[in-house]
């Protein structure tokens, strides 16, 4: 029995090494949280990180998923092996069990472990699942379904765990002298959709090597030696001679030391980019394929990522793609220029607004992570005003923080112009339609609640109102097609209504009433943000004319 009165929180993270690094960042705190954290992870991904994980987690259960099936076992033998794992984990007390993975194995494992409080996805049957927390529902409805989220995954994990935001803008000063800058390059990722082919990387590395200030170090796993050789074969002899090749020569711990010592990391969304962030090294990543830059940009202040403009980006892992068109959207020359600007602390907005660079920006944008008062934001680096979609994304971000976590962040009026105002007014129409629907949802649910409370409920009234509620769900999906800007709110409410686990008619109707009430409140918040922004622009115009 633990006498320390600490809370025992157990996290399930069955994802890859990059996911484990993000999980590690999600529990980092400058102050003692009075929490003992336990981690359940896969042995193959957790063990190489044990030097980092064991500093932050009191207990770690490394599940050897491959060993469950070693030696062509019978089902009863595999079950015995699984029983040993479950018994070992269940021997420990878990005040809360939090699933940060959102995969079927993790959600079934949640069903097998004992805890009074379960957060995140838990299966209740072979197809049905529960998600009892708002942030978990947000992940399922807005992250699993498409690029609708404005939050970094580490912040979402922190919110699921219930930890406050604690990132700082400061960065440890690097030891290298000002005339030499170490750049670590990892040109690989977990899926071919997510990384450039050898010729693109060779072109970028050749460009970088022309800068005498840069000291280039190529890193990667042993399994990536062949891919590295393809790049090396395309490098100029001078470049090859000056670059240090560590591919296949470092453990993750040694890689960490190399990254810690560097001025910049360049690569893709991968384990190495998150490791660089852990060691306070700035990163420039090339976001391709399935990568949602806002969600997975390395966690920290002023990391950069280049994002293609093509409409199919970002895609899903299951989407077929043979030509990787998004890979060609990012010019190597632009990446090389930005690397120079970052390591020398030059103004990137000035570079972006320089007319001579306009051709480089035709097919991609640069995004930068910024520490704000309540969360990490990832915004487009530009000297131009935000788009109406970006403005509303900002409003959504603040709305979710308020609705789920009762947090009010600082939100300034966006810089508008007349055409942006017209676009925002058009979006406003959509929010007004959805507001009416949520009002009807409240009304119909409330009628059922009142009827269900009666000694002899009128079944006819209940059936009528239930059918009206079903019609509303159909109407909501039609409005989503007409006003895609409403997708995050509609996706969230649809999931919440689907997961309604009321035990009887009264509870079901009450939960439905709460969902529609929350939708109503969320729309009011966003509507208010938009209306006040337009009003502010009009007032500024009037004041300007009066001068």
């Amino acid at each position: 029995m633990d006498q320390s009165n600490k809370t025992h929180i157990t996290l399930i993270q069955l994802g890859r090494i990059g996911d484990l690094l993000q999980t590690l960042q999600s529990i980092s705190s400058p102050i003692d949280l009075n929490i003992n954290f336990t981690l359940i992870c896969r042995k193959s991904f957790g063990k190489p990180l044990s030097h980092l994980l064991e500093k932050h987690f009191k207990h770690i259960h490394y599940i050897d998923t491959d060993a469950l099936f070693t030696g062509n076992p019978s089902l009863s033998l595999s079950t015995d092996r699984l029983n040993n794992i479950i018994n070992e984990i269940n021997q420990q007390s878990h005040d809360a069990l939090i699933n940060l993975t959102f995969s079927k194995p993790a959600a079934f494992l949640m069903s097998l472990l004992d805890s009074e409080v379960k957060i995140g996805q838990v299966f209740q049957g072979s197809q049905n699942f529960e998600i009892n927390d708002s942030w978990g529902q947000y992940v399922y409805s807005n992250i699993m379904t498409g690029p609708h989220s404005t939050f970094n995954l580490v912040d979402i994990m922190r919110k699921m765990i219930g930890l406050p935001f604690s990132l700082k803008q400061e960065r440890e000063k690097k030891s290298s002298s000002s005339d030499s800058k170490k750049i670590v390059i990892n040109p690989f990722a977990s899926h071919s959709k997510k990384f450039w082919k050898a010729s693109k990387w060779a072109k970028l590395i050749n460009l970088l090597s022309q800068n005498p200030q840069f000291q280039l170090i190529l890193v990667g796993a042993d399994s990536e030696k062949e891919l590295a050789a393809q790049i090396l074969n395309l490098l100029t002899p001078e470049c090859k001679k000056s670059m240090e090749n560590l591919v296949g020569h470092t453990t993750i711990e040694q890689l960490g030391h190399t990254l810690k010592d560097a001025d910049l990391f360049i690569g893709h969304d991968s384990m190495t980019s998150h490791l660089a962030a852990i060691y306070q090294t700035q990163t420039l990543t090339i976001s391709l394929g399935t990568v949602r830059a806002t969600e997975t940009i390395p966690y920290g202040h002023h990391h950069y990522t280049l994002v293609p403009h093509i409409s199919c980006f970002p895609c899903f892992p299951s989407d077929p793609c043979s030509n990787f068109e998004c890979h060609d959207q990012i010019p190597e020359e632009l990446a090389s220029n930005i690397a120079d600007l970052i390591v020398n602390n030059k103004n990137i907005e000035e570079f972006e607004s320089d007319k001579s660079t306009h051709d480089l920006w035709n097919t991609c944008s640069l995004y930068r992570s910024e520490v704000t008062d309540l969360s990490l934001r990832t915004r487009r680096v530009t000297s131009l005003p935000m788009t109406s979609q970006e403005i509303i994304n900002d409003f959504y971000h603040h709305c979710w923080l308020f609705i789920f976590s009762d947090q009010e962040g600082q939100l300034d009026f966006p810089h508008l112009n007349s055409s942006l105002c017209i676009e925002l007014e058009k979006h406003l129409e959509g929010f007004e339609y959805l507001f009416d629907i949520s009002g009807f949802g409240k009304q119909f649910s409330n009628t059922i609640v009142n009827e269900a409370k009666q000694k002899k409920p009128n079944n006819k009234v209940i059936t009528e109102q239930s059918e009206k509620l079903k019609e509303l769900e159909g109407l909501t999906q039609s409005i989503k097609k007409q006003y895609p800007i409403l997708t995050p709110l509609i996706n969230f409410t649809t999931l919440e209504l689907r997961l309604n686990n009321g035990q009887d008619l009264y509870e079901l109707a009450q939960n439905s009433l709460l969902s529609y009430h929350q939708l109503n409140l969320s729309i009011s918040i966003i509507h208010d943000f938009i209306s006040k922004s337009i009003q502010n622009f009009e007032n500024q115009n009037k004041a300007h004319l009066a001068k």
């Binding site: 890859r16 099936f69 062509n72 089902l75 595999s78 079950t79 194995p105 097998l112 299966f123 049957g125």
Partner: protein, 48 residues
């Protein structure tokens, strides 16, 4: 490996039958679902 896949596939069929009859699942069912999902995942080459 094929024998355990066959055994698990049978168990999953029984689980579906149970669910169709509205019989609640027990811990053994969830163990089978967990093992089955791990095997399916490795078949698909994904660990995410």
């Amino acid at each position: 490996m094929s024998s355990i896949i066959n055994e698990l596939t049978e168990q999953i069929k029984l689980i579906h039958e149970k669910e169709n009859k509205n019989i609640p699942l027990n811990k053994e069912d969830y163990k089978n679902l967990f093992l089955y999902s791990l095997l399916k995942e490795s078949e698909n080459g994904s660990k995410q």
